[in-house]
Protein backbone atom coordinates (compact mmCIF):
# COMPACT_ATOMS: atom_id res chain seq x y z
CA UNK A 1 0.00 0.00 0.00
CA UNK A 2 1.46 3.35 -0.95
CA UNK A 3 1.47 5.83 1.87
CA UNK A 4 0.75 9.52 1.82
CA UNK A 5 4.34 10.70 2.07
CA UNK A 6 4.96 14.38 1.66
CA UNK A 7 1.39 15.11 0.55
CA UNK A 8 0.75 15.32 4.29
CA UNK A 9 2.98 18.34 4.62
CA UNK A 10 1.65 19.84 1.43
CA UNK A 11 -1.86 19.46 2.79
CA UNK A 12 -0.95 21.12 6.07
CA UNK A 13 0.53 24.02 4.12
CA UNK A 14 -2.46 24.36 1.86
CA UNK A 15 -0.45 23.43 -1.19
CA UNK A 16 -2.63 20.62 -2.54
CA UNK A 17 -5.23 20.91 -5.29
CA UNK A 18 -8.79 20.05 -4.21
CA UNK A 19 -8.73 16.63 -5.90
CA UNK A 20 -5.44 15.82 -4.17
CA UNK A 21 -6.94 16.82 -0.82
CA UNK A 22 -9.84 14.48 -1.50
CA UNK A 23 -7.53 11.60 -2.31
CA UNK A 24 -5.43 12.21 0.78
CA UNK A 25 -8.38 12.33 3.14
CA UNK A 26 -9.72 9.12 1.63
CA UNK A 27 -6.38 7.47 2.26
CA UNK A 28 -6.17 8.75 5.82
CA UNK A 29 -9.60 7.29 6.56
CA UNK A 30 -8.17 3.81 6.23
CA UNK A 31 -4.50 4.26 7.07
CA UNK A 32 -3.62 4.51 10.72
CA UNK A 33 0.05 5.03 10.07
CA UNK A 34 -0.48 8.08 7.91
CA UNK A 35 -3.11 9.47 10.23
CA UNK A 36 -0.66 9.27 13.10
CA UNK A 37 1.98 10.97 11.01
CA UNK A 38 -0.47 13.71 10.06
CA UNK A 39 -1.22 14.39 13.71
CA UNK A 40 2.44 14.39 14.68
CA UNK A 41 3.54 16.69 11.88
CA UNK A 42 0.63 19.01 12.50
CA UNK A 43 1.99 19.43 16.00
CA UNK A 44 5.53 20.00 14.80
CA UNK A 45 4.36 22.56 12.28
CA UNK A 46 2.36 24.41 14.92
CA UNK A 47 5.31 24.46 17.27
CA UNK A 48 7.61 26.02 14.71
CA UNK A 49 4.95 28.50 13.68
CA UNK A 50 4.47 29.52 17.29
CA UNK A 51 8.10 30.50 17.70
CA UNK A 52 8.13 34.15 18.68
CA UNK A 53 9.19 36.74 16.11
CA UNK A 54 12.27 38.28 17.67
CA UNK A 55 12.65 42.02 17.48
CA UNK A 56 15.70 43.43 15.74
CA UNK A 57 18.46 44.11 18.23
CA UNK A 58 19.21 47.79 18.73
CA UNK A 59 21.78 49.03 16.29
CA UNK A 60 21.00 46.62 13.47
CA UNK A 61 19.30 49.36 11.51
CA UNK A 62 21.66 52.34 11.53
CA UNK A 63 18.87 54.85 11.38
CA UNK A 64 17.74 53.78 14.81
CA UNK A 65 21.00 55.30 16.06
CA UNK A 66 20.19 58.74 14.71
CA UNK A 67 18.26 60.55 17.43
CA UNK A 68 15.58 63.06 16.44
CA UNK A 69 16.95 66.59 16.16
CA UNK A 70 14.91 69.51 17.54
CA UNK A 71 13.36 71.58 14.79
CA UNK A 72 15.46 74.62 15.70
CA UNK A 73 18.63 73.11 14.14
CA UNK A 74 19.80 73.67 10.56
CA UNK A 75 18.27 70.97 8.37
CA UNK A 76 21.18 70.79 5.96
CA UNK A 77 23.61 70.00 8.75
CA UNK A 78 21.34 67.33 10.16
CA UNK A 79 20.98 65.61 6.81
CA UNK A 80 24.75 65.58 6.37
CA UNK A 81 25.32 64.15 9.85
CA UNK A 82 22.66 61.49 9.36
CA UNK A 83 24.10 60.53 6.01
CA UNK A 84 27.58 60.36 7.44
CA UNK A 85 26.42 58.12 10.28
CA UNK A 86 24.62 55.83 7.88
CA UNK A 87 27.54 55.69 5.48
CA UNK A 88 30.03 55.10 8.27
CA UNK A 89 27.99 52.25 9.69
CA UNK A 90 27.43 50.63 6.34
CA UNK A 91 30.97 51.33 5.27
CA UNK A 92 30.30 52.19 1.65
CA UNK A 93 33.57 53.23 0.09
CA UNK A 94 34.11 53.33 -3.62
CA UNK A 95 37.73 52.70 -4.47
CA UNK A 96 38.57 53.32 -8.08
CA UNK A 97 41.56 51.31 -9.20
CA UNK A 98 43.12 51.67 -12.60
CA UNK A 99 42.57 48.78 -15.01
CA UNK A 100 45.39 46.26 -15.21
CA UNK A 101 47.80 46.51 -18.11
CA UNK A 102 47.45 42.93 -19.25
CA UNK A 103 45.52 39.79 -18.53
CA UNK A 104 47.16 36.40 -18.67
CA UNK A 105 45.22 33.31 -19.53
CA UNK A 106 46.34 31.94 -16.14
CA UNK A 107 44.38 34.70 -14.43
CA UNK A 108 41.35 33.91 -16.56
CA UNK A 109 41.72 30.22 -15.78
CA UNK A 110 41.96 31.11 -12.11
CA UNK A 111 38.56 32.80 -12.27
CA UNK A 112 37.01 29.95 -14.19
CA UNK A 113 38.46 27.49 -11.67
CA UNK A 114 37.15 29.49 -8.73
CA UNK A 115 33.65 29.54 -10.15
CA UNK A 116 33.97 25.88 -11.06
CA UNK A 117 34.56 25.10 -7.40
CA UNK A 118 31.03 26.35 -6.75
CA UNK A 119 29.50 24.24 -9.51
CA UNK A 120 27.39 21.30 -8.27
CA UNK A 121 29.48 19.05 -10.51
CA UNK A 122 32.73 20.20 -8.92
CA UNK A 123 34.98 17.27 -8.25
CA UNK A 124 37.17 14.78 -10.08
CA UNK A 125 35.10 15.16 -13.25
CA UNK A 126 35.99 18.85 -13.42
CA UNK A 127 39.44 19.15 -11.91
CA UNK A 128 42.20 20.68 -13.97
CA UNK A 129 45.87 21.35 -13.35
CA UNK A 130 47.32 23.51 -16.12
CA UNK A 131 50.16 21.90 -18.01
CA UNK A 132 52.01 25.01 -19.04
CA UNK A 133 52.35 28.21 -17.13
CA UNK A 134 53.50 31.61 -18.38
CA UNK A 135 56.59 32.17 -16.30
CA UNK A 136 57.17 35.75 -17.39
CA UNK A 137 54.83 37.83 -15.26
Amino acid sequence: MRHAGDTISAYLDGELRPEEVHRLLEHLASCGRCSAEMTALQGVRSSVRSLPMIELPRGTLPEAEVTPIPLRRNRGFIAAVAAAVVAAVIGIAALVTPPPESISVEDLNSRFGARLSLDPAFGPAKVLVPETVELQR
Binding site: S9, E15, L41, V44, V48, L51, I54, L61
Partner: protein, 167 residues
Protein backbone atom coordinates in the same frame (compact mmCIF):
# COMPACT_ATOMS: atom_id res chain seq x y z
CA UNK B 1 0.85 42.77 -13.27
CA UNK B 2 3.20 45.29 -11.73
CA UNK B 3 3.06 45.39 -7.96
CA UNK B 4 4.02 48.46 -5.94
CA UNK B 5 7.75 48.45 -5.23
CA UNK B 6 9.10 50.04 -2.09
CA UNK B 7 10.72 53.26 -3.16
CA UNK B 8 13.63 53.37 -0.81
CA UNK B 9 15.68 51.17 1.35
CA UNK B 10 14.50 52.71 4.59
CA UNK B 11 11.08 51.34 3.90
CA UNK B 12 12.52 47.94 3.00
CA UNK B 13 14.57 47.94 6.17
CA UNK B 14 11.57 48.64 8.31
CA UNK B 15 9.23 46.15 6.69
CA UNK B 16 11.57 43.28 6.01
CA UNK B 17 14.44 43.69 8.45
CA UNK B 18 12.73 41.79 11.20
CA UNK B 19 11.79 38.93 8.91
CA UNK B 20 15.32 38.65 7.58
CA UNK B 21 16.67 38.67 11.11
CA UNK B 22 14.35 35.88 12.19
CA UNK B 23 15.17 33.87 9.09
CA UNK B 24 18.85 34.03 9.94
CA UNK B 25 18.37 33.55 13.66
CA UNK B 26 16.23 30.44 13.30
CA UNK B 27 18.73 29.07 10.81
CA UNK B 28 21.84 29.72 12.87
CA UNK B 29 20.87 30.45 16.45
CA UNK B 30 23.43 33.26 16.32
CA UNK B 31 22.15 36.79 17.05
CA UNK B 32 25.31 38.61 15.95
CA UNK B 33 25.54 36.84 12.59
CA UNK B 34 21.85 37.38 12.04
CA UNK B 35 22.17 41.10 12.62
CA UNK B 36 25.11 41.16 10.19
CA UNK B 37 22.99 39.38 7.62
CA UNK B 38 20.25 41.99 7.90
CA UNK B 39 22.75 44.74 7.20
CA UNK B 40 24.34 42.87 4.32
CA UNK B 41 20.97 42.14 2.70
CA UNK B 42 19.81 45.73 3.06
CA UNK B 43 23.06 46.89 1.51
CA UNK B 44 22.61 44.61 -1.47
CA UNK B 45 18.96 45.59 -1.86
CA UNK B 46 19.93 49.22 -1.79
CA UNK B 47 22.56 48.67 -4.47
CA UNK B 48 20.19 46.62 -6.56
CA UNK B 49 17.07 48.76 -6.31
CA UNK B 50 18.06 50.90 -9.26
CA UNK B 51 18.33 47.96 -11.63
CA UNK B 52 15.45 46.01 -10.14
CA UNK B 53 12.97 44.84 -12.77
CA UNK B 54 9.41 44.87 -11.43
CA UNK B 55 8.30 41.30 -10.95
CA UNK B 56 8.11 39.70 -7.56
CA UNK B 57 9.74 41.91 -4.99
CA UNK B 58 9.40 39.27 -2.29
CA UNK B 59 11.07 36.69 -4.48
CA UNK B 60 13.86 39.08 -5.39
CA UNK B 61 14.46 40.02 -1.78
CA UNK B 62 14.48 36.44 -0.49
CA UNK B 63 16.89 35.38 -3.19
CA UNK B 64 19.21 38.17 -2.11
CA UNK B 65 18.75 37.14 1.52
CA UNK B 66 19.56 33.55 0.81
CA UNK B 67 22.57 34.35 -1.33
CA UNK B 68 23.93 36.68 1.32
CA UNK B 69 23.47 33.95 3.89
CA UNK B 70 25.27 31.38 1.74
CA UNK B 71 28.05 33.84 0.96
CA UNK B 72 28.63 34.36 4.66
CA UNK B 73 28.74 30.61 5.26
CA UNK B 74 31.27 30.25 2.44
CA UNK B 75 33.35 33.15 3.68
CA UNK B 76 33.57 31.65 7.11
CA UNK B 77 34.52 28.35 5.59
CA UNK B 78 37.28 29.86 3.45
CA UNK B 79 38.86 32.08 6.03
CA UNK B 80 38.89 30.75 9.54
CA UNK B 81 38.40 33.49 12.06
CA UNK B 82 41.68 34.54 13.59
CA UNK B 83 41.08 36.23 16.92
CA UNK B 84 43.63 38.84 17.87
CA UNK B 85 44.20 39.32 21.60
CA UNK B 86 42.58 42.74 21.63
CA UNK B 87 39.73 41.89 19.27
CA UNK B 88 36.43 41.86 21.05
CA UNK B 89 34.48 38.68 20.54
CA UNK B 90 31.07 39.67 19.19
CA UNK B 91 29.47 36.92 21.19
CA UNK B 92 30.55 38.77 24.33
CA UNK B 93 28.69 41.83 23.23
CA UNK B 94 25.61 39.84 22.34
CA UNK B 95 25.62 38.01 25.65
CA UNK B 96 26.27 40.97 27.90
CA UNK B 97 23.35 42.06 30.09
CA UNK B 98 23.47 45.56 28.66
CA UNK B 99 22.66 44.33 25.14
CA UNK B 100 19.14 45.12 24.15
CA UNK B 101 18.03 41.60 23.32
CA UNK B 102 14.77 40.12 24.45
CA UNK B 103 16.04 37.31 26.63
CA UNK B 104 12.62 36.44 27.93
CA UNK B 105 11.25 35.77 24.51
CA UNK B 106 14.36 33.91 23.43
CA UNK B 107 13.99 31.34 26.18
CA UNK B 108 10.60 30.30 24.81
CA UNK B 109 10.96 27.65 22.16
CA UNK B 110 14.54 26.71 23.11
CA UNK B 111 13.78 23.04 22.52
CA UNK B 112 12.47 23.74 19.07
CA UNK B 113 15.38 26.01 18.21
CA UNK B 114 17.86 23.35 19.29
CA UNK B 115 15.98 20.75 17.27
CA UNK B 116 16.04 22.99 14.22
CA UNK B 117 19.80 23.32 14.48
CA UNK B 118 20.12 19.56 14.26
CA UNK B 119 18.49 19.42 10.86
CA UNK B 120 20.58 19.31 7.69
CA UNK B 121 20.80 22.83 6.32
CA UNK B 122 18.57 22.19 3.26
CA UNK B 123 15.75 20.85 5.42
CA UNK B 124 16.22 23.53 8.05
CA UNK B 125 16.11 26.30 5.48
CA UNK B 126 12.97 24.92 3.85
CA UNK B 127 11.15 24.62 7.18
CA UNK B 128 12.24 28.10 8.28
CA UNK B 129 11.19 29.73 5.01
CA UNK B 130 7.81 28.00 5.26
CA UNK B 131 6.97 28.22 8.95
CA UNK B 132 8.95 31.20 10.20
CA UNK B 133 9.06 33.50 7.18
CA UNK B 134 5.73 32.30 5.80
CA UNK B 135 6.60 31.83 2.15
CA UNK B 136 4.58 29.60 -0.12
CA UNK B 137 6.13 26.55 -1.76
CA UNK B 138 6.34 28.44 -5.02
CA UNK B 139 8.12 31.33 -3.34
CA UNK B 140 10.54 28.99 -1.58
CA UNK B 141 11.22 27.25 -4.88
CA UNK B 142 12.02 30.59 -6.49
CA UNK B 143 14.23 31.69 -3.62
CA UNK B 144 16.20 28.46 -3.40
CA UNK B 145 16.19 27.65 -7.13
CA UNK B 146 14.92 24.10 -6.73
CA UNK B 147 11.72 22.51 -8.07
CA UNK B 148 8.58 22.72 -5.96
CA UNK B 149 8.65 18.95 -5.52
CA UNK B 150 12.02 19.26 -3.83
CA UNK B 151 10.70 22.03 -1.57
CA UNK B 152 7.80 19.87 -0.52
CA UNK B 153 10.06 16.90 0.13
CA UNK B 154 12.55 18.91 2.16
CA UNK B 155 9.84 20.47 4.33
CA UNK B 156 8.29 17.08 4.96
CA UNK B 157 11.56 15.38 5.81
CA UNK B 158 12.58 18.31 7.97
CA UNK B 159 9.38 18.09 9.97
CA UNK B 160 9.73 14.33 10.35
CA UNK B 161 13.23 14.78 11.69
CA UNK B 162 12.03 17.48 14.08
CA UNK B 163 9.38 15.09 15.32
CA UNK B 164 12.04 12.45 15.94
CA UNK B 165 14.30 14.88 17.79
CA UNK B 166 11.55 16.39 19.90
CA UNK B 167 10.01 13.12 21.02
Amino acid sequence: MVEPVPLNWEEVARVYGRKIYNFAYRLTGNPADSADLVQEVLLRVRKGLESYQPGSFDGWLWRITRNAFLDEVRRKKRRPQISLPDEVDRWDIAASPSADIEYDRLSIGDDIQKALLELPIEFREAVVLCDVVGLSYEEIAAATAVPIGTVRSRIHRGRKQLRDVLS
